[in-house]
């Protein structure tokens, strides 16, 4: 009798295919497929033999084939500015964790805050067959948005509470967060204030934090034109230099709002180096509530952003059916002002 059985263990170089499993289980490839996909309509005996065969052979389904056939890749793409910034890294960490638990895989690409690069990465992701994408912010090239829409790819925006152009948003209201900081500083009696924002070009989060801040000040009778607004990349040295510029104006601001803790850390450094006491001479407020906020001295008053949680929620927003949803889902999260030692009453 023909004992053309498959070998006990997979042989290096020869990938185990479904037909190998079927052969070993003594059933058809169709039945094997049904078992492995949890299809109920299979006899118990066949089921066990297939499962055993798959385990023994170390069968791993080929997802390219499965994707091609079933038109479902269970792949999610993410385009973020950079991973070299804790706020995005944490978000992706949460996203990955959640997707992994849902049996989906994550392809990540970085854009370096460049909407043109984002567009290129978007094409790559479409080609990879991702079923959803997670982007940062609301501001994207129209072509990018259109490309995803045409391909039937669901778009989730993070770090924002508006989903214009996309299908869902998971984040917070940057404008209101900026406003909150303004009100806090005004409440402490500050009238001469400055802001070191992140680079606003192509970055709606930075833009809205700034605008909300200015709006909040205006509500307290502080005219926008009286407020020094600088921009700095999210790097410590940039914060240092921007603070230097700010502190060389006359009269000096008594409070400075920084668009990120990274910038605030640099600003804080500048003050320490130049013996400008914080908060006696100048109060500093950061944004993000990174670990470094507690490390600088005095520790930074800042705005807490639930970065990892945002990634988890974004992942959850992708569960269920894989078709784009009709109604916009907006999951707004709360930011909290964390008051530490870097802020105090206005000095004069």
């Amino acid at each position: 009798m023909e004992n053309g059985q498959a070998p006990d263990r997979r042989t290096p170089g020869h990938t185990v295919r479904l037909k190998d499993v079927a052969a070993r289980a003594g059933c058809s490839i169709a039945t094997a497929s049904r078992v492995l996909n949890g299809n109920a309509k299979v006899g118990a005996s066949d089921r066990e033999r297939v499962l055993a065969a798959a385990a023994q052979l170390g069968y791993v389904p080929n997802s390219s084939a499965r994707a091609l056939r079933s038109q479902s890749t269970r792949l999610v793409g993410a385009i973020i500015p950079t991973l070299d910034h804790a706020i995005y890294a944490k978000m992706v960490d949460g996203l990955q964790e959640q997707l992994s638990a849902m049996g989906m895989s994550l392809i990540i690409n970085t854009s370096d805050y460049d909407l043109e690069r984002e567009k290129v990465q978007a094409r790559v992701l479409v080609g990879r067959g991702v079923e959803s994408v997670v982007l940062v912010g609301t501001e994207h090239s129209p072509e990018t948005t259109q490309l995803f829409r045409d391909a039937g790819i669901r778009q989730v925006y993070t770090y924002t509470s508006t989903a214009d152009g996309g299908d869902a948003a998971v984040g917070f209201d940057n404008f209101r967060a900026g406003q909150m900081v303004a009100e806090y500083l005004v409440g402490l009696g500050h009238a001469r204030v400055a802001m070191i924002a992140g680079v606003t070009k192509g970055n709606d989060r930075a833009t809205q934090r700034r605008d909300g801040f200015l709006h909040g000040l205006e509500g307290a009778g502080i005219c926008q034109s009286d407020v020094l607004v600088l921009e700095a990349p999210y790097r410590i040295e940039s914060g240092y230099h921007a603070m230097q510029s700010a502190m060389q104006t006359h009269p000096r601001p008594t409070a400075v709002f920084c668009g990120s803790d990274i910038i605030a850390a640099g600003a804080s450094n500048y003050c320490r180096t130049n013996e400008i006491p914080i908060p006696a001479e100048v109060s500093i407020v950061g944004f993000d509530d990174l670990e470094i906020a507690e490390l600088v001295s005095p520790p930074l008053t800042t705005v807490n952003v639930p970065a990892k949680q945002m990634g988890i929620m974004a992942g959850k927003a992708l569960s269920g059916d894989s078709k784009p949803v009709k109604s916009l889902i907006v999951h707004e999260m709360q930011t909290r002002l964390i008051v530490r030692g870097s802020t105090g009453q206005a000095s004069t």
Copy 2:
């Protein structure tokens, strides 16, 4: 009017396929494929028409189909402990950047320092058809290593200079780095030293840094049993508490080597809170040279690790043919001791 031509723009919902491009260009699907793949043997007129058609229709090749047919996915997997640690995030940032430039995509998974979870993620990556994987360290479950080998997947280890079980290593010698720190501290006259290592279970980097450190001390006549060695997760509070324990021993150590800047930052915090002057009473050395090393006061003496560069090199190690290489490639990178204000001569 209906002239049987493909529409000018892709219609939402209907994905453009290669045959659509071919139809519009008035050639066969094979010719279109050749053009799009840069195959030289195609007439100039056909070439242009295909290119134009593809552009007009917004054609995006289906990589599942391409992968299935060509047995080449151009997909790379990475399994790292977590993205919520700058040292890994930076590495992945560099890796992603390099792979993107090489036309490859990156799927990332996290293991949370758990070799069992790593094994699970490994199966997922194999199923996704990745052609290579980037792992952290040399210590992996035998099943994980075997799984990749059987599937013909090239394994690149990072943060280590030994490639046992894998095909390539891009990193540095953790043992020697630890030894270097020991020699530095001994040179400053320190005889009572302690170490707060990372959790060594399943973490060969932490283990080797510790062992190298102890070995270096032993070379200077300091017996291992006289050295207090604690372990702490990579979190600031953990460093704080570990330092607390270390400082409650008698006699106190005059120098403490921390397995990571994160831990060192916590240790530094403890000293500040408890008015133990650094480095007058105790010297602290960190590891990684993260941004926070310069933020704490006094700034940390630490060991610089070229994290992003490591990712870039790992990506480059994946270029060329997609088959596992026969010879082990080891790309050893240099670590440098960065001396800042947290270390000084032994106090007594």
